[in-house]
Homo-oligomer: 231 residues x 2
Amino acid sequence: MTTPAYQQIKDYVLAEIHAGNWREGDLVPSEHELVRRFGVARMTVNRAIRELAAEGVLTRSQGAGTYVAATKYHGTLVEIKSIADEIRSRGHRHTARVLKLTTVRADGALASEIGVNENDKLFHSVILHLENEQPIQLEERWVNPALAPDYLAQDFTRVTPNEYLTRSAPLSRVEYRIEARRPDRSTKAKLEMDKDEPCLVLHRRTYSNGVVASVANLFHPAGRYQFSGYF
Amino acid sequence: MTTPAYQQIKDYVLAEIHAGNWREGDLVPSEHELVRRFGVARMTVNRAIRELAAEGVLTRSQGAGTYVAATKYHGTLVEIKSIADEIRSRGHRHTARVLKLTTVRADGALASEIGVNENDKLFHSVILHLENEQPIQLEERWVNPALAPDYLAQDFTRVTPNEYLTRSAPLSRVEYRIEARRPDRSTKAKLEMDKDEPCLVLHRRTYSNGVVASVANLFHPAGRYQFSGYF
DNA sequence: GAGTGGTCTAGACCACAAT
DNA sequence: TTGTGGTCTAGACCACTCC
C-alpha cells in the first residue's frame, strides 16, 4: 500500500510549486537529474513529468527543458481568470471601486455555506468593477479569515480579491451556479442598468485544501456581459 | 514524421468506438492481446490505454479488464448531457413537444455561423421540453444535413436532438455562450413565464470532425432553471 | 490458477535546442 | 557537441478478479 514512485515524484514537484520554490516559468530539473535524485528508472520519471504536463502544470519542449506552466485556473468553462485580466485582454481599461470591506458575523445561511459556526467572524467585501468607466461586475464576497488573514489589508483597486485569494490559498475545488435574475434596486443602480434589464449572476464557492475559502456572488448587466468558452 | 505507436493504438481504439464496433460497457482487448496484434512492447500498449482511461474514454479495473466508458460529454461545465437525462436524474418526468421540424434555407447569418453557403438547405427544429408537465427549455436548433441526413425522420418526443446528434456524429468541439435576456412574446408564452421573468439562454455550436454539426439556442425560464457544476 | 491491469527496470535510438 | 525530451523494448514482480 505504498505510494507508487511516479506519484511520489508528482507530489514532490507539486509541493515545490505550491511552496513557491519553483515559480511560473522556472526550469524544472531534467529527467536525468530526477533519475539521480530519486534513484528510479527514467521511464518512471518520464511518466510523472509527462502526466503533470498533460494536466497543464508543466510545459515541456524537446531539446530545451521542462518549465513550470503559467497558472490557468482552470480553462474549461467559467474560467477562474480575474475580471481585470479579462477586461485588459479586450484592450480595455479596468478600474475597481471598493464599496465595502469589513468584518461581519456569519448568519445561519452563510455559516452553513462556508462551513463555520454561526456568529463566527467573516471578511466581507463589495467591489464594483468597471470596464472603460462603465460598470460591468458587482462582486459581493465573503471570505474565511482562517485562509486569508490579511484580506482586509489589501488594496483591491490594484489586485482583485480573486487574484489575491488564488495566490494566498491555492484552490482545490470550485462549485458554481449561473442564473438569470431581476436585480434589486441597489444592484441595478450600482451597475447602471436599464429599466427591465436582467442580471446574469454567477455564484461561486471555492475550496482550498478541502475547506471553503470564499463564497462570491458576481452580478453582471445582461446587456454588457455574457459567459463564453469552448472545449 | 511517423505517428508514434502508442498514438496509433489510441487512434485505433477511438476509431472502433466511433464506428460503433465497440459500444459502451464492452470489454476492450487486453493489453496482452493488443501487444500481439500491434507487435509492440506492453509498455507501449499500456501508455495508449492508460491515456485513454485518463481522458475518460475507457475505464479499467485491475484483474477484471478494460471497458468502453459511458459517454459523458464533457463533464466540466455546462455538460452536454441531454435535458431529458437531467430531468430524469431529478426523479421527474420528461416530455417533449415538437413544435417545428422542417427544412429551411440558410440566410446570411445562419450560413456563416454554420459554415455553409447562403440558401443551402438546413434542418430546423423547435422543441419544447417539459419537466413534470411544466415547460423548462425551449430548444431552437439548426442542423447541417450533411452530418445527419435522417434528422427529419426522428421522433424527438422519444430521443432528444442532442442524443440523436451525438450518436450519429461524434462531437469534437463545442462552443457556448450563456446570457440573460428578456424573452420575446412568443418565447415567454411557450415557456409559460411570469411577467418580467428573465430568460437564461445557452447558445451552443457543436462540431464533428471540424465541421459544424449543429447550432442551438436553449431558452430557460430564470425562475425554474440554472446551470451548475464544479471542477 | 489463469488472466488482467499497475508498476518498474536498464538499457536504447532518435529529434531537437542551445552553444 | 552536449543535454534535453520523445519514444520504445523485453523483460519482471505484484495485486487483483473471476472461475
